[in-house]
């Protein structure tokens, strides 16, 4: 059974595209056939993070408008043969998306893939509502700060009312993914705690991704963080999250400050 998964947040810059790429790659590494779809028409980024920007010929809008066939627009990942990308158009805007066109594309993708991951643009307008429209599941990417949490709350409300599933009286399965979790700041009490976030959002937690230089480094070289350095803390957190999506039960670890051996010997806390 194909699953349509939307990665959304309301707020921008919280890590939707990073999460789409990393989760897509992690699911593909687990043998799932995955396509990641960029809905951020006009401000596309997923092709860069996936390292496929030089290979884009046709895009989502071409397919929506019938200019190109779906198979012509899909780009296969060079590293993982189970992973595909459907890029957005950079020259158009979100008004070029139509409900019917997206519906047809999603229906066609459902016949070919196990996971269709939709990378939502920020905001609550047309692009974001169409990205979540056909979703079966949703990852709500949240940073541990009040503005991000409130925007996530708003998006959850929309997932419960504006999706096809909601209109049929069913529920989109929702997961909270906390990203950019800064262990040092958390230990100083400068961020919202995990408990606070989950209390406000009243939605199950999928994973906690620690703030890390590895994420930026991976983006810059155009590789999903789970492929770039699978042993890094964020990569391991994403891999666990992907396995939870597949139904496995994995203990949730709250990232804690890593104390170096020397510091431990000297009885010092890392800065």
């Amino acid at each position: 059974m194909a699953k349509v998964l939307v990665v959304t947040s309301g707020k921008g810059g919280v890590g939707k595209t990073t999460t789409t790429a990393a989760t897509g790659a992690a699911l593909a590494q687990n043998g799932q056939k995955v396509v990641v779809v960029d809905f951020d028409v006009g401000l596309r980024n997923l092709d860069l993070v996936m390292g496929a920007e030089r290979r884009v010929v046709f895009d989502l809008i071409n397919v929506v408008q019938g200019v190109a066939k779906l198979s012509q627009a899909l780009i296969r990942d060079k590293r993982l043969e189970n992973l595909w990308l459907l890029p957005a158009s950079q020259t158009r805007d979100k008004d070029a998306l139509t409900d019917e066109g997206i519906g047809n594309i999603i229906a066609e993708l459902r016949t070919k893939y196990d996971w269709i991951i939709c990378d939502s643009p920020a905001g609550i307008e047309r692009g974001a509502t169409l990205a979540m429209r056909y979703a079966d599941e949703a990852i709500i990417v949240t940073n541990p700060e009040v503005s991000s949490v409130r925007d996530s709350d708003r998006i959850i409300g929309m997932l419960d009312s504006k999706t096809v599933k909601a209109e049929k009286g069913e529920q989109v399965k929702k997961h909270i993914l906390i990203t950019r979790y800064d262990t040092a700041r958390a230990s100083r009490g400068e961020m919202l705690t995990i408990e606070d976030i989950l209390e406000i959002l009243a939605t199950p937690l999928l994973g906690i991704i620690p703030e890390s230089q590895d994420v930026l480094r991976a983006s810059n070289v155009g590789t999903p963080v789970t492929l770039n350095n699978a042993n890094s803390a964020p990569a391991r957190a994403y891999i666990d999250a992907a396995r939870r999506l597949m139904g496995e039960t994995i203990t949730m670890l709250v990232p804690t400050e890593r104390v170096g051996l020397m510091n431990r010997l000297l009885g010092r806390r890392a800065a």
Binding site: I124, D153, D160, E199
Partner: protein, 230 residues
């Protein structure tokens, strides 16, 4: 010259109208028949009140005094006889109901008690899931109960009171139709704004010592009071 106002004469207009009347057909013995009527009245006392009733005496042969007695016995049971059928005019006196002729038979339609089509409007609204940021719940007919939290940036507008079994982080406006007796109850108060019947307090005005506790808000005159519950 003196103008003389001609008194305008109203034309008398006569209109025809027909009514359906109950026709009573007494049988002998009249005492037994009256017992039947009494039995009907015992089942539904108001059944004949205000209904036109006609006596058809064609089945019985009664003297003038007997007819007068029958009419008074019916009046004694609160049944007023509109007219009498099936007798010679000579048998009736002027104090009796008039003789009627030319009545036509008709089928009495059993009017079923009309089922109230529209159910009475519900006077309360129950929400079983959290109210998310950006959602606006407006229910002016009565109370709103939320089994869950009300997110920051969400609002509840109620004609009656508001009950929140969770944290109130958004806005709650109770008694919007001028109901100053409406109250707001919540399990944890972190509200952005509370209003009752137009009187409001913003987060800034709410006492910090109340925060994160169960609380209720109500109006005392034109002052909003917020106190901890239990």
């Amino acid at each position: 010259m003196q103008a003389r106002a001609e008194p305008t004469r109203q034309q008398v207009r006569l209109r025809g109208r027909s009514y359906v009347a109950f026709v009573f057909c007494p049988f002998v013995p009249i005492v037994g028949w009256l017992e039947e009527i009494d039995a009907t009245l015992a089942r539904s006392p108001g059944f004949f009140v205000g209904k036109p009733v006609v006596l058809d005496l064609s089945a019985v042969d009664l003297s003038q005094s007997a007819i007068a007695h029958l009419v008074t016995s019916l009046e004694g049971r609160n049944i007023r006889v509109l007219g009498i059928e099936g007798v010679e005019e000579a048998q009736l006196t002027t104090s009796m109901p008039p003789l009627l002729t030319g009545g036509r038979h008709c089928v009495l339609q059993q009017t079923k008690p009309e089922k109230p089509e529209a159910k009475p409007k519900p006077t309360s609204l129950l929400l079983e899931s959290p109210v998310r940021s950006g959602q606006s719940i407006i229910f002016t007919d009565g109370d709103v109960t939320v089994l869950g939290s009300v997110g920051s940036g969400a609002e509840i507008v109620a004609g009656g009171s508001i009950h929140i079994y969770g944290t109130l982080r958004g806005r709650a406006m109770a008694g919007v139709n001028g109901n100053s007796a409406a109250r707001i109850y919540c399990q944890r108060i972190e509200a952005e704004l509370l209003a009752i019947d137009g009187y409001y307090q913003t987060a800034d005005q709410i006492d910090d010592t109340l925060r994160n506790r169960p609380a209720q808000a109500w109006l005392e005159g034109d002052v909003m009071k917020i106190t901890p519950l239990n």
